[in-house]
Symmetry: C2
Subunit: 294 residues, 2 copies
Amino acid sequence: MTDLPSSWNDGAAKRSIERFISDADQPGAAFIEPADRIAVFDNDGTLWVEQPLPVQLDFIFRALAKAGQDDPTLAGKEPYKAILARDSAFFAAVGQQQPGAIRALEEALARTWLGSTPEEFEAQVAAYLREVKSERFGLPYPELVYKPMLDLFHVLEANGFRDFVCSGGGRDFMRVIAESAWDIPREHVIGTAPTYTYHDGVIRRGGEVLGGLALGPGKPEHIFAYAGRLPAFAGGNADVDIEMLESAAFAMLIVHDDGEREFAYTAATEKSVAAANDNGWTIVSMKNDWNTVF
Amino acid sequence: MTDLPSSWNDGAAKRSIERFISDADQPGAAFIEPADRIAVFDNDGTLWVEQPLPVQLDFIFRALAKAGQDDPTLAGKEPYKAILARDSAFFAAVGQQQPGAIRALEEALARTWLGSTPEEFEAQVAAYLREVKSERFGLPYPELVYKPMLDLFHVLEANGFRDFVCSGGGRDFMRVIAESAWDIPREHVIGTAPTYTYHDGVIRRGGEVLGGLALGPGKPEHIFAYAGRLPAFAGGNADVDIEMLESAAFAMLIVHDDGEREFAYTAATEKSVAAANDNGWTIVSMKNDWNTVF
C-alpha cells in the first residue's frame, strides 16, 4: 500500500512521494534497507499551524509574561519587558533569530523551568494545549494537525519507515503530544532540549541547552545523534529546514499558499523554496495538493 | 507469552522477571501503559563479555597505540605512553574512573577521530569486530553476546516493551552492532557520544562529549534525553549501573560468578550488589540462573 489517501489531491507532488516510497520497498537502484528507512518531519508549519506565532513561542511567552507579572525585578528586563509590552520589534527579532534576542529568551527559559521535574513541565504543557485555542480556528492546537501529514505518516509506516519529528522547538514540549497527536513514540521526537540532572531517583531540568538549537545545521546534527542515521525522507517548510532537507535522500517542502483554509505567507521560507527548485525537491502546495487541511 | 525459554534455569530470578513482565500486561496495580514500557540494559558485562577489558577500551587502546606508533610526538605523552608500555597502573586508573586518567583518555579520543565521518569510524569498528578475537574464547566479540539476554529481549518485545541499550561505552561503536547482534534499531542505543557538526551534506565528529559520560547518574540522564522516560525495566551488572537500576520500576543485576563458563569477578560491582539487596532488586547468578551462556 503506497497510495496516499483522498486527503491528497492527485498531482505531481502526490505521485512523486508515492513513487519514492514504492521504489524504496522494491528491488532496484532506489531500494532502501529497512534499517535506513528513517523519515523526519519538522513540526511548526509542517505538521500543524504556526501562525500567528509558533505554538511553543506562544506557550513560552505566556509563561514568561506570568513570571514578569509575579516578579517585579524581572518585569523591567528583557525579554520580560518586551513580552509584557507586546513589543513587536522583539518578536520580529526572535523570528529572525537575532542572537541577542535568542540569548535573552534562552536565559529566561532556563531560569523559568530550572529544577522542575518532567511531570511538572508536562502538566503545564498539557494544560496549555487543552485550554488555549487558536484565534483563527477557535480550536486547541492539537486539533490543528494537518490530516494529509498524518496520512503520509501512516503510508510511510506501512512501508517500513520509522517516522520522527525534528523541530527547532522544545523536544519535551512536543513529546507530550507524540503519542496522542501523531501516534509515534516519544523517543522519535527530536528537538531543542535542556540538560537534565539525576539525583535520588528524580530527573530535574538543568540550565543549559543540550547540543545547541535544532535549527539549520543543528537539525541533521540532532537527527544523527538520536536516530543514528541521516534521514531517507525529510519534510519541512522553512529556511531553518534546508540542511535537514538536503541531508535526506528524498525531500519535501510544504508551501503555505492557502489563505482561505489556513494561512498564506512566505516570510523565512524564500531560501527553502529556492533550494527546492535548485535541488529538485518535491514542493507541496497546501492549496493545490491537499484536499483536506485538518 | 511471558515464559523465558530454556536458556534460563527455573528459579527465583526467572520467576521474578516473568512475573513482572506478565503483570505489566494485565489489568491491575502492576499494569504498565504500553507507551511506558521501556526496557534498558547496560552493555559490557550485561549483554556481552567485559573481561579482561571492556571491548571498546580494547578497541580504543589499539587505535591509540597505533596513533602513538605513527606519531613520535604523541608516543611520550599520556595516555599513549602508558598504552604503548602496557602500564597496568594506568589501566587500573581508567577502570576506577580516576578523573586524570579519564580526561587524558577523552582528549586522546577526541583527537583520534576529530573530523572523521560516521562511515570512516564505522568501518574501523566493523573491521575490529570481525578480526579481533577474545583470547579466552577464540571468538570475535559479537559471538560472545549472552544468549539468555537475547531471549529476554524477545520476551520483553513480545509483551510490548521496547528494548534499549544504555552503556558508558561509545554510542556510535555499539550502534554498528545494534541490528545484527541485538536485533534492535540504532536509535535504541544510548551511550557516551561525541558532538557532530554538519556541513555541506556531511556529518563529522566534533571534539566534545555530548551531555557527559553515560555512567552513574549520567545513565538515567541520557535515558531520559533519548527515550523521553525513565525505564520500566532495567538490567545492569556494575556500580556504574546503580542510578539506572534505581530509576526503574523493575531492576535486575547480573552477577559474574561463573569462572568455568565465563568469568568470576566482583571488582567495581560490590556497591551494586549491596544496593540490590537493600532495594530488593532481582539478582541473576550466571552460574545458577543461566542454562546457556552464549
